[in-house]
């Protein structure tokens, strides 16, 4: 079973905190992988918040290919960071030869481009790199987006942490938002792309559960947006639905739950907004999930979201203090990070709730 975690803090945090969060939940996952996404970056990335960062892993050929594509499109390298690799013997990890995190400047052609045009360019470029890497299986691109860093690897989370020297805290690598998961998606082939968290255009999603309507979701999403690809995991559908609803349709986040787990018609009929909810239910019926799930998400403004499915549920708890909010599968993880918090403020979300953690860490609880 997956164990997932999301941390939002007022202060910059080193990713070792994500390892600690997941380590305490080790009995709940199968020790088969570790992946995390850092957003709202500090450290060496703090002064480049507007510039896109390429997060990838690949062979020498793969990373060269990606760099060539960037250069040919007119991107200019500003900063490159690679993790400090610790080649200890006996580590349970299947590493790639190279890991690359590269901050680049937009091409000159985009100097006066609108935000929308820049975003289009980033998506096109990411898709191009992914296609090129897939041609000879030479690597994986996890994100090409400002203020975002993604790492995914196969193996034991503890050993992955050791391999990338992530246990050693430093001020170089830190962020205010960290999402992490400790498991490869064992339902399907072991593919790095299949590991949560999933990222697209500022949206991050990780889920614990199963998407019973995966086939329906996939068939519908594949035509909605050119960036809705891969589908290596049924949980990617949660990301694409979030992106479609919030970014493309521009609907408030409270409607996410009305799409993935719509209310029964009987309940809708009693509401004043029934006309709208019935339309949503009909129009987006192929995006319903109908399975046991807890979904955690991060929006482009770095607010965090938590929703559960309406019938089978998967565990999740939210703990907090004045500086940090932690959402994770087991309370053991929160106890590790926030042992002295006020327990009465812990939140155990219900099946109809959408919980939003705002920028200032205030908590909004919306009932579906």
């Amino acid at each position: 079973m997956c164990r997932i975690g999301a941390i939002k803090s007022k202060k910059y945090l080193h990713p070792s905190i994500a390892l600690k969060l997941m380590r305490s939940q080790q009995e709940g996952h199968d020790d088969s992988g570790f992946a995390f996404i850092m957003q709202d970056l500090g450290g060496i990335f703090e002064h480049h918040k507007d510039l896109p960062i390429l997060s990838m892993a690949g062979t020498v050929e793969g990373t060269r290919k990606a760099e060539d594509i960037l250069l040919n499109l007119g991107f200019k390298r500003v900063l490159q960071w690679t993790p400090n690799i610790n080649h200890q013997k006996g580590l349970k990890i299947e590493p790639m030869p190279n890991y690359m995190f590269e901050v680049v400047q937009y091409p000159k052609s985009h100097k006066y481009a609108t935000q929308e045009e820049k975003e289009e360019l980033l998506i096109d470029t990411a898709l191009k790199i992914r296609k090129a890497l897939e041609e000879d299986n030479s690597g994986y691109i996890y994100a090409f987006w400002p203020d975002t860093l993604v790492l995914k690897e196969i193996g034991s989370p503890k050993d992955i942490g050791t391999y990338f020297s992530l246990w050693e805290e430093n001020t170089e690598l830190c962020s205010k938002v960290i999402t992490a998961q400790c498991r490869q998606n064992t339902n399907y082939d072991i593919v790095r792309y299949a590991a949560h968290p999933f990222f697209l255009e500022g949206y991050t999603v990780l889920a614990n559960g199963e998407n019973t309507f995966y086939e329906k979701n996939r068939l519908y999403q594949q035509n909605l947006n050119r960036a809705y690809i891969g589908f290596e995991s049924d949980s990617q559908c949660f990301l694409y639905t979030l992106h479609y609803l919030h970014k493309i349709l521009k609907w408030p986040i409270q409607y996410y739950k009305h799409v993935i787990t719509p209310l029964p018609i009987e309940k809708i009929e009693k509401r004043t907004d029934k006309d709208i909810l019935l339309r949503i239910k009909a129009s987006l019926s192929h995006l319903e999930i109908n399975g046991p799930n807890t979904v955690l998400g991060v929006l482009p403004d770095y607010s965090m979201v938590c929703v559960c499915d309406s019938k089978k549920l998967r565990p999740v708890v939210i703990g907090r203090n004045d500086d940090m909010v932690v959402m994770t599968s087991e309370v053991a993880g929160i106890n590790e990070l926030l042992p002295d918090r006020d327990l009465s403020k812990d939140i155990y979300p219900t099946e109809n709730e959408t919980i939003v953690i705002k920028e200032d860490l205030t908590v909004e609880r919306w009932q579906q």
């Binding site: 019973t212 329906k216 068939l219 519908y220 349709l249 709208i276 129009s283 192929h286 019938k311 089978k312």
Partner: protein, 542 residues
């Protein structure tokens, strides 16, 4: 040598031969009275008593039941005689050497007509070769069919894609500012379009009563399509109209009364169904033989007593665009754009083209696409049409769904599939499988008649709906026959059957982990037939 007229119709030419055991017969006369076809009669036979047969005094008269031989009064194997016989003295036996069809055509110079269904489709039925093989285990557990909450409903009416809903956002709320096409959530089973005329008014009434009861007492929002031919004015004026889908077909029968009654309607109908074609006799119009056009039917349809043959096409419709316009202008406008308007076509090689055109219609007018497979039933048709024209429903539903998927428009025009559902006894399973293949729902007509007591089957038993002599009083307008039908009992049976169907649908949804309809969840299906797997794009399992 004895002479025999080989070109005449003989008992041995008939499709069914009566086996009569004189030793068991008590001469009560029930069998001959019940036979609505006049296929048997009491008769006196001369028998040898004893001794020399040439001596007249050795003969005696014996009263027996004799099978009649004639084109209009031959046995159809309905089995009513057996049903009423107290001693089991009589039964109809299938004649494997039957020459009836060839004799009929040779003698009459007419096309052979009958009712019922295609009789050539019972072996190797595709839906029976598909199983539900994706059983939720462990991480995505199965649901509890008894205790869990299920929602078995589907939209009926045009569904717009989310980006075309025209929603505005006001703070944290969505507001709707434009008028959208009518759309209603209904149970995914629609009682199929059988007219008063094709079936008896009592049978029709029983379905209507069952529909109202299912909606108001059981909580299953099932809709009933009226069939072409009008409906009673009292029903048009009642609040129960909201459960009825009014049908308009190429004959436009009954619409004078519907239009005249509009000002007095207290509810909108559930929908309008424009019938373009029928699966059992595709490319053919409606056919109501004169012997079924009773006074009541004449009145409700506004026609004289005659064979009523609807044209094979709507005379005003000659293209997709034009038909859309026609729907737009007439049917939608008739109810002020409050009522979904759907069309029904016979499954055909061309179904996908038609569906694509409707999906792309810029007016978003079509609220449902009903595809009728060739295993459906009919009140009357030419046998040549019944047996040799048409298209199976399964692959066509799949094709239409995948065509919509290809365009990213699945669900925009809800698909309803019908034609032979429940043919081999598993109505709920058939419905579930078609839904997994992409249908939003199903419609059924003939199955309701079977529930009511129709004695016909798919292996040429009875199928005499065209004659007006339906022995069950279902497809007849003769008062003496329709009285055999207990309206309340039939309504009760239909209600019970649908309650059972609802339970069975849950029993199929639960193991695949669905609490709502699994429209398009082909991943839940498997088949042991490689060709079916390939054609329908479902998992091949052995």
């Amino acid at each position: 040598m004895a002479a025999v007229k080989v070109n005449e119709l003989h008992r041995e030419d008939l499709p069914w031969i009566i086996e009569y055991d004189e030793s068991k017969c008590i001469q009560c006369g029930k069998c001959t009275a019940v036979c609505s076809f006049g296929a048997i009669s009491p008769c006196v036979e001369m028998r040898k008593k004893s001794g020399n047969i040439a001596e007249k005094q050795n003969l005696e008269k014996v009263l027996v039941v004799k099978q009649n031989v004639g084109f209009e009064n031959h046995c159809v194997g309905c089995g009513m005689c057996t049903a009423v016989c107290p001693n089991g003295a009589i039964k109809a036996v299938r004649n494997l050497d039957d020459r009836y069809a060839i004799r009929y055509r040779a003698e009459k110079g007419e096309s052979l007509k009958r009712g019922g269904r295609s009789n050539l489709n019972t072996e190797g039925r595709t839906l029976d070769k598909i199983k539900i093989g994706r059983i939720s285990q462990m991480t995505d557990p199965s649901l509890d069919a008894i205790r869990h909450t299920f929602e078995i409903k589907t939209p009926f009416g045009r569904v717009l894609s989310a980006d075309k809903l025209g929603f505005d956002v006001d703070g944290n709320n969505i507001i709707q500012s434009r008028t959208l096409p009518p759309n209603r959530w209904i149970y995914p089973v629609i009682f199929g379009d059988m007219s008063i005329g094709a079936i008896s008014s009592r049978m029709w009434e029983a379905i209507a009563i069952a529909t109202a009861y299912l909606n108001e007492k059981v909580g299953l929002p099932i809709r009933m399509c009226t069939g072409e031919g009008g409906i009673p004015v009292s029903l048009l004026k009642s609040r129960y109209l909201k459960y009825m889908i009014l049908q308009i077909a190429s004959g436009h029968f009954g619409w004078n009364r519907i239009i005249e009654t509009m000002p007095e309607m207290v509810e909108d109908p559930a929908g309008i169904l424009i019938k373009i074609g029928q699966g059992a006799k595709p490319g053919d119009g409606g056919l109501l033989m004169a012997n079924k056009v009773s006074e009541y039917v004449q009145e409700i349809r506004g026609v004289p007593k005659a064979d009523l043959m609807s044209p094979p096409t709507h005379q005003g419709l000659y293209s997709i665009e034009e038909s859309v316009q026609k729907m737009f202008l007439s049917m939608n406008a008739a109810f002020n754009f409050r009522v979904p308007v759907a069309i029904k076509v016979a499954a055909s090689v061309t179904s996908v083209s038609v569906y694509n055109n409707l999906l792309r219609d810029p007016y978003n007018i079509v609220g449902g696409f009903f595809i009728d497979g060739f295993a459906g039933g009919t009140g009357a048709a030419h046998e040549i049409s019944l047996n040799h024209t048409g298209h199976p429903i399964t692959s066509k539903v799949r094709d239409c769904y995948l065509a919509a998927v290809h365009q990213g428009r699945q669900g925009e025009i809800p698909l309803f599939a019908g034609g032979g559902l429940g043919q081999t006894g598993s109505f709920a399973a058939d419905a579930f499988k078609l839904i997994c293949l992409g249908a939003n729902g199903v419609f059924t007509g003939r199955h309701l008649l079977q529930i009511a007591g129709c004695c016909g089957n798919d292996t040429e038993k009875c199928n005499a709906c065209s004659t007006g002599n339906c022995p069950a009083g279902i497809a007849s307008q003769k008062a003496c026959l329709t009285k055999r039908l207990d309206v309340d009992k039939v309504a009760e049976n239909i209600v019970n059957y649908m309650i059972a169907t609802d339970i069975e649908l849950r029993k199929l949804m639960a193991p695949v982990g669905c609490s709502t309809l699994p429209v398009g969840r082909s991943d839940a299906l498997i088949t042991v037939d490689r060709h079916i797997a390939q054609r329908l794009d479902i998992q091949y399992s052995i």
